[in-house]
């Protein structure tokens, strides 16, 4: 298949060899599962259980609230021992509402919805099942998959791209999933394709995962399915960026501020395909996922099938623990991942990796000044000038940074990766985007206040006018009345005069 070139991008060392040969393992149940109500973008789910409740595995614990929210299910059977604030796996380390479940070790399943036939079930039913089972995009974006599968209602879709690029260094969970569960993955892909009503499917895998490509190809060949092509794309970060992947495969550039669906393409992550197969064919809600444990400080590392809610500390212990104090603990990949604030935080739907990078460093040297070498601009896959944007942000000209593309930045970090002055560019941009949102919110509020004041003023003005008018009317009425009285008086006087006159005349 002909591939198209994308601009920019970098070639970080893959570092995947540490775990790519380690088969997916499961780990023993932890003593406690911590299940945050926010495991997806959109509003947190609403808890349906209370402290003290006994729950079964797969039972609905919290219900989606709002358009882009997702259901949350019990990862195992046990007792709810708390619902309250608990540390969340997020850079801020801020706690979020969390259900704490103490497993009873029985692994007793709740009633599961009956299997659906991938090839004959009505597509609405399939999308509904996916939404019910709480499936979200497992590549990290955590967008509810059921919503995405319904895009056919609003768009005329031609192509489904399965994002199996896995371009972040260290991560191998998708690689292992494809190698070990190729058949189920492809079933999931077929379900997605059918639900979306697309004519073609491309599974895009970075060329550094030949075994995964081979595993999938073997199955598509055997089944004679010519709708699905397995395509190896160049290993170049950020190949996994949705719009860039689509451009590589189709040559089409998604317009700014548009979705790939606007050019007829939908992108789903490969791990999501597997989760969908599980939900459709086995009625299994999303209660576990595959996580890569890696990094220089990780003693063993590997790929693990982990129940959602498992504390990171438990996972790390089961994987052999840490060799030494890591320089950094990361959730996700090293390029776009986030620092992990505490090992006590739980695994949630969007986490594809836990990395313990390098040996503890002393204070890192401060960044050097920008020398305008423009290697950041050369590395930017979005055609931006990071050095220029950073300069403008530094001098607090946020609007001017927006003018040159701040909001087109996908935060991939290619710029900061190559910067010889080691300027934390992504941090600048995140900061700027954050303050812009805050400013927008403030502006909106101000606007709203202004509108309210104006409405009130208008209302007052109207009332005043009405009062005035009423007064004027009353005055006019009074005047009219007076005038009328005057007239009558005059008329009476005139009549009297006339009378007198007549009288005089008569008298004369």
């Amino acid at each position: 298949m002909k591939l198209f070139k994308i601009k920019g991008g970098i070639h970080p060392k893959g570092r995947k060899e540490a775990t790519s040969n380690k088969a997916i393992q499961s780990i023993p149940l932890p003593t406690m599962l911590r299940i945050p109500l926010q495991q997806h973008i959109g509003a947190p789910a609403t808890a349906l259980v209370e402290k003290g409740d006994l729950v079964k595995k797969g039972q609905l614990l919290a219900k989606a609230r709002g358009a882009v929210s997702a259901n949350i299910h019990a990862p195992t059977s046990g007792r709810i021992i708390a619902i309250g604030r608990f540390i969340a796996p997020h850079a801020s380390g801020l706690p979020g509402t969390t259900i704490t479940l103490r497993p009873d070790g029985e692994e007793a399943w709740a009633d599961r919805p009956p299997p659906l036939d991938p090839d004959t079930a009505p597509v609405d039913e399939l999308a509904k099942r996916v939404a019910e089972c709480g499936i979200v995009g497992l590549g990290g974006a955590t967008f509810p998959s059921g919503v995405k599968l319904n895009l056919r209602n609003r768009y005329d879709l031609k192509l489904l791209v399965i994002n199996a690029a896995e371009c972040e260094p260290y991560l191998t969970c998708d690689d292992r999933l494809m190698r070990e569960r190729a058949e189920d993955v492809l079933t999931g892909v077929r379900i997605m394709a059918r639900t979306l009503g697309v004519e073609r499917v491309i599974v895009a895998i970075e060329s550094n995962k030949p075994e995964a490509a081979k595993a999938l190809r073997t199955i598509t060949k055997a089944s004679g399915d010519d709708k699905i092509s397995i395509v190896e794309v160049p290993a170049r970060y950020p190949m996994g960026s949705e719009k860039h992947l689509v451009q590589t495969l189709t040559g089409k550039e998604t317009p700014a501020r548009a979705l790939t669906a606007d050019i007829g393409v939908v992108v789903h992550n490969v791990a999501t395909a597997y989760a969908i197969q599980q939900a459709v064919c086995h009625g299994r809600p999303l209660i576990s996922r595959i996580v890569t444990l890696s990094g220089e400080a990780m003693a063993e590392g590997g790929n693990f099938e982990v129940l959602l809610g498992t504390p990171v500390s438990h996972l790390v212990e089961q994987a052999g623990g840490l060799k030494h104090d890591p320089d950094r603990l990361i959730i996700g990949g090293p390029m776009m991942g986030q620092p992990l604030s505490s090992l006590r935080a739980p695994i949630i739907k969007g986490i594809n990796g836990i990395l313990a990078l390098g040996q503890k460093q002393k204070q890192a040297p401060p960044p050097m000044p920008c020398i305008r070498c423009t290697s950041c601009a050369a590395a930017c896959p979005c055609g931006l000038s990071p050095f220029d944007m950073a300069q403008r942000i530094r001098s607090d000209e946020l609007d001017s940074a927006v003018d040159i593309g701040l909001l087109d930045c996908i935060g991939c970090g290619s710029c900061a990766y190559v910067c010889p002055s080691k300027i934390p560019l992504v941090q600048y941009f995140n900061y700027a985007k954050g303050s812009l949102t805050a400013k927008q919110r403030a502006d909106h509020k101000q606007e709203e206040t202004k509108r309210l004041v104006q409405t009130r003023d208008a209302r007052m003005e109207k009332m005043r006018r009405e009062k005035q008018e009423a007064m004027a009317r009353m005055k006019a009425e009074r005047a009219a009345k007076k005038a009328k009285e005057e007239q009558q008086k005059q008329a009476a006087a005139a009549a009297q005069n006339a009378d007198t006159e007549t009288k005089i005349k008569v008298e004369a």
């Binding site: 090293p334 990078l357 990766y417 941090q427």
Partner: protein, 362 residues
Amino acid sequence: MTDVTSGPFLHSGASVSRTMGLVILALVPSTAFGLYLYGWPAITLFVVTISSALLFEAIALKLAGKPILPFLTDGSGLLTGWLLAMTLPPWAPWWIGLIGSMIAILLAKHAFGGLGQNIFNPAMIARTVLLISFPVQMTQFLPPLPLSSANAPGFREGIEVVLTGHAGLDALSGASLLGSIKTQLGQGETLPSILASLFDMRDAAIGSIAGSMGETSALLALLGGLFLLITRVISWHIPVSMIAAMVALSTLCHSLNPDLYLGPDVHLLSGAFLFSAFFIATDYVTAPGTDRGKIIFGAGIGMLTFVIRTWAAYPEGVAFAVLLMNATAPLIDAYVRPLIYGRTRKGTPLSYPDDHTKGPTS
């Protein structure tokens, strides 16, 4: 924004000092050849220029209250001093090197705010100020007297030449090729006859001619330039557009009147043209930030160099051309914006080539 809360948590390993180091490495062949060609006086001047550049860098950092060690070792001060030395007449007196470093580091670099903040190329500012202020010392070139040759000054003698000025320098020195051409053209001679006696293509390419300390060898400059291109320290845009503009203009004029206008061969091989194309014009700080901007910038330098060399009062024009284009770099950056993903050159979102949105009826 002090604690790193955003990725990436990996880094390519690139650093300012590594970049500067690569440029210096690329300069080594030209430098070694120049020092060999012009002997101990050149070596002495080289040492004076570089050490004074580092000294002024340290002073400026101290005055600015910046941490001295990390900035002094970033290689930028060393590189500025080195580049300046390459552009000086090899037997110039010591104070030329010292004043040059002072102008480059204090005036051109730190007065603007230090590394990354200057508008003009420091070495070119220094060279130009020196040329205007001390025209005699700055235009006394001498034919090569390689270290191996019999009448080359020795170690002690070489230091003496630079410290006291002129030990028999007057007898030896003369103008560079471009200078001679300018003078003799003014006396009514035609180019072919001048060139026949002065210009030898092989010597000009190798660099065994009269000229600045590190700029005479076109081949070694090219070698260093290729190294910079291969190691991706520089991109092709500036050198290629600069050379192309020069070749285009000189070919055109030369074909119109070969008696009056030098051909592209002489232009490329003489003076500081190739050296500047790879080492001076490509200075990150003072060049535009986009690839298209760089092409305009390079072409501008090529054109201006040709114009100055051909019609202006000075025989060599690269330094002026670079400074003039440095001044336009911010303007170029303001007008030549990069093409952002999903947007047109104007910055508006692309229109959907084939709209897949379903109408409200479907």
